[in-house]
């Protein structure tokens, strides 16, 4: 074989080996978590809150963490959606000057890359300033900051795809900017909104570092915004650190529940965004 052909073959083998490695690592992660988690998962884990002596291996479940995580992620998704949608709308060229739009996109990208532990520390400063304890509200505020850039950028990506002719037709009918935005652009942005919400929700429900100081942890399901709240990632984190095997097994089960939620969201966003884009003008 000629050396240049040989070089191509060598690199092709390396490439296939690399991609196989990446795929098998993912498979390995899912298989290990499912196998380990499934063996200690049972119904009472899903529907009970921890009983006395739970952390020594006695009875109870992690319903507090499941419900807590859902509260946190729903609350934060709602806030970041209410903030993110107007920002995404404003980034259109009708509203913001190119320079300001550029700066805003840069800000959002910086926020997107900011480590979640930094959000956690910042959230805690804000809470101390406001006189809040670690609570559901604190966790929701911190998480919504973390979700905001994800939400906004994915909605904006889709809004930017809106054909300018479509908007021009709408303007030619004598509509105002806001009418066009709500009646035309919003409909076009629907798939982006769905993906954005689900992406942000998935990121939020799995994030640990940002709620470590801000949401606290409790064995009870919170009854008000000012109660501390348990969460699945922290349930995994705390339970795996104990030396008791029964409790460690529950960490695996909690991880499995979290993994299933995240995977469902990831697949769901694919299906839904495909479905919502049926009526989109391209």
């Amino acid at each position: 074989m000629k050396p240049r052909k040989l070089e191509e073959s060598v690199f092709k083998v390396l490439m296939i080996a690399s991609i196989t490695l990446v795929f098998s690592v993912l498979a390995g992660i899912i298989i290990v978590i499912v196998v380990r988690g499934a063996s200690s998962l049972n119904l009472s884990m899903l529907i009970q809150t921890p009983e006395g002596g739970y952390y020594l291996g006695k009875g109870g479940g992690i319903a507090n963490a499941i419900v807590g995580s859902l509260y946190l992620a729903f609350g934060a998704s709602l806030i970041s959606f209410l903030l993110g949608l107007p920002i995404a709308f404003a980034l259109q060229k009708e509203y913001l000057s190119p320079r300001l739009a550029h700066v805003t996109r840069l800000s959002l990208d910086i926020l997107w890359g900011t480590p979640s532990i930094v959000y956690g520390a910042f959230g805690f400063i804000i809470m101390v300033y406001l006189g809040l304890r670690a609570s559901l509200l604190g966790g929701i505020i911190t998480l919504s900051l973390l979700m905001l850039p994800i939400m906004t950028r994915s909605i904006e990506e889709v809004i930017r795809m809106t054909p300018s002719e479509l908007k021009e037709i709408s303007y030619a009918l004598g509509t105002t900017r806001i009418e066009t935005t709500i009646k035309v652009v919003l409909r076009q942005a629907l798939p982006g909104i769905v993906t954005g919400i689900l992406l942000a929700f998935g990121r939020g429900i799995g994030d640990t570092a940002s709620i470590l100081f801000t949401a606290g942890y409790t064995d009870y399901i919170p009854r008000s915004l000012f109660d501390p709240v348990a969460s699945l990632p922290l349930a995994v984190f705390f339970q795996v650190a104990t030396p008791i095997p029964e409790v460690q097994n529950r960490a695996y089960a909690s991880a499995l529940i979290l993994l299933v939620i995240v995977l469902l969201i990831s697949l769901g966003s694919r299906l839904l965004s495909g479905r919502c884009s049926r009526h989109i003008v391209k």
């Binding site: 240049r4 070089e7 092709k12 390396l14 490439m15 296939i16 080996a17 690399s18 991609i19 990446v22 690592v25 993912l26 390995g28 992660i29 290990v32 978590i33 380990r36 903030l83 993110g84 107007p86 920002i87 709308f89 404003a90 509203y95 300001l100 550029h102 805003t104 996109r105 840069l106 990208d109 910086i110 926020l111 890359g113 900011t114 480590p115 979640s116 532990i117 930094v118 956690g120 520390a121 910042f122 400063i125 670690a134 900051l145 905001l148 850039p149 998935g202 429900i205 799995g206 994030d207 640990t208 570092a209 470590l212 995994v236 984190f237 991880a255 979290l258 993994l259 995240v262 990831s266």
Partner: protein, 279 residues
């Protein structure tokens, strides 16, 4: 709408400002150089040397990048240039799933799989180790940054025009030669940015690393030794240390350092992508 935009922009400034004000007390007491270069970490004695933590972060991130970059680039080139369209779509799904998995699950997998693996490896190489080490942290981080490096560099490679490939192939080159001399060369900036983004992600990753890197505040002498990266320091100690104001301030300074380093990397990547988009 304008209010929301103003909020998004001011939040960046607020975070930097908030962390800076909170780290003023320690900066007033000690010079920043002393804090960064001293390796004596004894908060109760009032000594706050960040050196071991900074080195720990750099080392664990460095190991991750050494492991991840070649594998990710080869994968991205394969997916973009050689793979069938359907396989590429499948790979996108796989990569999206990898990106969606929460870091605590990576950490747990690290504890179950990577740590025993490193322990066995250490035994085989005659360096006894608990497995909770720089190498274990680096392996997990490498896995965690793969989706971002692969997907971004794949997108960048796809932006290279087909004509560029075809013109080169018409000169009688092999496909690999066309990729090496033309495609990779014109995608160089974008690929660099993909790596920068991966680096930034790895630099700030907290929970997964914290769970497996061992958390010993000493500069490691080999990759089988434990280390203590900055984010882990923050996560382990912040919140409980309100009673010692200077300690609190030192921890928030570490958050500020993280934010600035990661911020600079992200801005670099952002500006490069803007330039590519304009072309």
């Amino acid at each position: 709408m304008l209010l929301a935009v103003a909020f998004a922009n001011s939040i960046v400034i607020l975070i930097v400002l908030g962390l800076f004000i909170k780290s003023m007390p320690i900066l007033a007491k000690k010079s920043i150089l002393h804090l960064l270069l001293s390796s004596s970490w004894h908060p109760l004695k009032g000594e706050y040397g960040f050196y071991p933590f900074i080195i720990g972060t750099l080392e664990v991130t460095g190991i991750a990048m050494i492991l991840a970059v070649p594998i990710c680039l080869l994968s991205a080139i394969y997916l973009s240039e050689y793979a069938h369209r359907r396989f590429r779509e499948l790979a996108r799904v796989v990569i999206d799933i990898m990106a969606a998995i929460p870091s605590v699950i990576y950490g747990l997998w690290g504890v179950i799989v990577v740590v025993p693996f490193v322990r066995t490896l250490g035994k085989a190489l005659d360096t006894p180790t608990t497995g909770y080490s720089l190498l274990a942290g680096g392996i997990i981080l490498a896995i965690m940054v793969s989706p971002i490096i692969i997907s971004v560099s794949m997108e960048v490679l796809r932006t290279v025009p087909v004509q560029a490939r075809e013109t080169t192939l018409a000169l009688g080159t092999t496909k690999w030669e066309a990729i090496k001399h033309v495609v990779l060369r014109s995608a160089l900036h974008g690929i660099f940015s993909a790596i920068v983004l991966g680096f930034a992600r790895a630099f700030g990753e907290t929970i997964a690393v914290l769970m497996i890197v061992g958390n010993v505040p000493k500069v490691a002498s080999s990759i089988f030794d434990p280390a203590y990266p900055l984010p882990a320091l923050l996560a382990n100690n912040y919140g409980e240390m309100m009673s010692i104001p200077l300690y609190n301030s030192a921890l928030l300074l570490s958050a500020l350092i993280l934010l600035i380093v990661v911020g600079v990397f992200n801005i670099t990547a952002h500006l490069t992508f803007m330039r590519i988009e304009k072309r």
